[in-house]
């Protein structure tokens, strides 16, 4: 038990988060559980508003003030982030887990050059009294490892002088320079062109191998997730509907939502486009009582509308939250 426990860097257990919106309560996350092992790439995929980013914020315990954690825990290296002391929490954020944001232009401060931002961030991550020269060298090394040429010039540049791809590389460099073990990548390529996105995803994969990092990759693009994760969780309306090894989930999908989502993705093979999923995402103020997908599910029965489906293991390591998993194709 000890061995497997040590191998897990992040564990989210039955996490439920709601938001207090002017007196009424919006129940967003409902029982999210997943694990991230060391040197593993885990994906969270779902449509906008399904709670992907809320999950990442909960991991770093940076949820907005109106958020209420109803139940569940987030264990980072075995410690619950909701019960950590402020000092511990700060250390975790500075050197343990770091986030790469979707839009590198707004993640960097436009009025300071890269050097200023980089060194400030490093100052807190490295031991006190580290000489400035050493911090500078660490930063140059990090920029080199994200394959940015001419690092001295980049250090002196302001964000507006760099292209989107270069800014995203600089953000990644800042995240890894502090020696972080867990990278939370929130749609790292979405705001970039497809050729640049390809470069960034390859870079993250390469860094993961070189520096033995763990990555939580969040995206709405099934293609990105399939190509850059080992293990995937499909999210719908604040719940995980299907999870398992990426290959299993993509090639042997069992949940009606996963199947519907897959059919909506335009394919390069050119077999036309489906008609989409009928209906809309449920209102979080009054979420469906049973399965959250039941109002839109073509296979829904009486029980789906009234009782939450169990999380069933249909084959080793492949979990599906559906009463009729296996019967649906």
């Amino acid at each position: 038990m000890d061995n497997t426990q040590k191998d897990i860097i992040l564990e989210v257990r039955d996490l439920s988060v709601s938001f207090d919106v002017y007196g009424s309560v919006s129940h967003v996350l409902d029982g999210i559980s997943f694990k991230v092992k060391k040197r593993e790439r885990v994906g969270l995929v779902g449509e906008s508003g399904c709670g992907k980013t809320t999950t990442l914020k909960a991991v770093l315990n940076v949820l907005p003030k109106n958020a209420i954690v109803n139940r569940g825990e987030v264990l980072f290296e075995g410690l619950n982030v909701f019960k950590m002391s402020n000092a511990k929490l700060a250390t975790m954020r500075r050197t343990g887990a770091g986030m790469i944001f979707q839009d590198p232009s707004s993640a960097l401060n436009p009025v300071f050059n890269i050097e200023k931002q980089f060194i400030t961030a490093l100052k807190y991550a490295k031991p006190k009294n580290t000489p400035a020269q050493e911090l500078h060298e660490i930063a140059i090394d990090a920029l080199n490892s994200v394959m940015l040429p001419d690092q001295e010039r980049i250090m002196k540049s302001f964000p507006l002088q760099l292209s989107g791809g270069m800014k995203q590389r600089a953000c990644i460099a800042m995240t890894i320079a502090a020696g972080r073990q867990l990278i939370l990548a929130d749609e790292p390529g979405t705001s970039l062109d497809v050729t640049i996105q390809d470069q960034i995803l390859r870079l993250i994969n390469q860094l993961m191998l070189d520096k033995q990092l763990s990555v939580v990759m969040v995206s709405h693009s099934l293609g990105v997730i399939r190509e850059s994760t080992d293990y995937v969780n499909i999210m719908y309306a604040g719940t995980i509907v299907e999870s398992g090894k990426t290959d299993d989930v993509f090639h042997n999908s069992k949940h009606p939502y996963t199947l519907a989502l897959m059919s909506c993705v335009p394919k390069l093979t050119g077999k036309g486009i489906s008609k989409g999923i009928p209906g809309r995402m449920p209102d979080y103020m009054i979420p469906p009582q049973g399965c959250r997908f039941s109002p839109r599910c073509p296979y829904a029965q009486e029980i789906c509308h009234t009782q939450k489906p169990p999380h069933l293991e249909i084959s080793p390591g492949h979990w599906v939250s559906c009463y009729f998993a296996g019967e649906v194709t």
């Binding site: 449509e47 906008s48 394959m147 292209s163 791809g165 270069m166 062109d193 497809v194 050729t195 640049i196 996105q197 390809d198 470069q199 995803l201 390859r202 709405h220 693009s221 099934l222 293609g223 990105v224 399939r226 190509e227 850059s228 993509f250 090639h251 519907a260 989502l261 897959m262 059919s263 909506c264 993705v265 335009p266 394919k267 390069l268 093979t269 050119g270 077999k271 036309g272 486009i273 489906s274 008609k275 989409g276 999923i277 809309r280």
Partner: protein, 342 residues
């Protein structure tokens, strides 16, 4: 015989910056659009896709070149076009949040073009607006709703209904679904395809999503720094991409199934970034990132060559009739082709 409705010849649109630099946003583009077909225009950000769209609808005047629309040259007319010409070419913008007036109900937004273009009585306008909503598959009670109460997909369909109000024959779709989720995108696209069949519309479909393009376009044109690289019928384009940039683009697409993975050309690792349109490289615009570049690419700008019927490539590799590129590809050993640098 399908009629050609739009003929763009050597279109140029330059912008002068305040510091005296010239941005060649569109630099010599030739395109044709036929009645009832979808022409896909693909390119990275900054390649000039939207500039072409805005010149076509008259928001910009072209710097040089001709746009022949049903016999009239409208390249330099800008907003001085006749009302009929304005009504014939309509556009759906990328961001449905900002292209609809938030202070107007959907009904009012739909009735404004009717009022300007058709001059019909108010009751007729209302009737027609309901009909337009029905066309795009939205219920009539949307008439009294405000855009903020609608979802992204519904807003985009309202934009579509508004564009249809003037009975256009050419509709420009400027990334209509890139702000939407895939399940919503599927709904909007399938509705747009049905409409095209019902009304015999021609679409100029602008997007950066090649997988989507595969499923909607009849022909595809690739734009890079304001110049066309390749133009071909869709199936041929995806099966036999010839231009090195097209190949890089296709091999960069993240795909969701193993079946698609096999369709991609040999993995060509993408390198470099699109240069600034202020400093377009001399010769071929793609020479900074091309893995097959030759000395001539740095000096001379390549011209469009028709390599097979309807398949045009703009690359020095296809300069002679022997198609060195195809031969080289056939002889190359299988496996990953590594980039030359980085």
């Amino acid at each position: 015989m399908v009629e050609k409705i739009l003929d763009i010849k050597n279109l140029k649109k330059y912008f002068l910056l305040t510091n005296g630099q010239l941005v060649k946003a569109v630099d010599g583009v030739d395109l044709e659009i036929f009645e009832g077909e979808t022409l896909g225009l693909v390119g990275e950000s900054g390649s000039g896709k939207s500039t072409i769209a805005y010149v076509l609808v008259g928001m910009y005047e072209a710097t040089d070149g001709d746009i022949i629309y049903k016999g009239d040259n409208i390249a330099k007319t800008g907003l001085r076009r006749t009302l009929k010409q304005k009504g014939e070419i309509q556009i759906i913008f990328q961001d449905p949040g900002s292209s609809l007036n938030s202070k107007r109900t959907v009904g009012k937004s739909l009735m404004l073009p009717l009022q300007i273009h058709h001059r019909i009585s108010k009751s007729d306008m209302e009737k027609r607006a309901r009909e337009l909503l029905e066309w795009v598959g939205l219920p009539a009670e949307f008439m009294d709703k405000y855009p903020r109460t609608l979802g992204g997909g519904e807003r985009q369909l309202v934009s579509g209904a508004r564009a249809l109000a003037t009975n256009p024959s050419l509709m420009i779709l400027d990334e209509p679904t890139s702000a939407l989720d895939v399940s919503v995108q599927a709904k909007v696209i399938s509705r747009l395809i049905d409409l095209q069949k019902e009304l015999n519309l021609a679409y100029l479909f602008i997007t950066h999503d090649l997988s989507l393009m595969r499923n909607v376009a009849n022909r595809v044109a690739i734009l890079y720094l304001g110049r066309l690289c390749e133009q071909a019928p869709t199936a041929e384009f995806f099966e036999k991409p010839l231009h090195p940039y097209t190949q890089m683009l296709l091999s960069s697409i993240p795909v969701a199934t193993a079946e698609e993975e096999e369709m991609k050309p040999v993995k060509i690792l993408s390198t470099g970034e699109i240069p600034s349109p202020v400093n377009v490289p001399l010769g071929c615009a793609f020479n900074t990132r091309c893995r097959d570049k030759m000395p001539i690419c740095m000096k001379e700008r390549p011209t469009m060559k028709e390599v097979s019927p309807g398949h045009f490539v703009c690359c020095h590799l296809f300069n002679d009739n022997t198609y060195t590129r195809i031969k080289a590809a056939a002889q190359a050993p299988a496996g990953e082709l590594q980039p030359k640098q980085q």
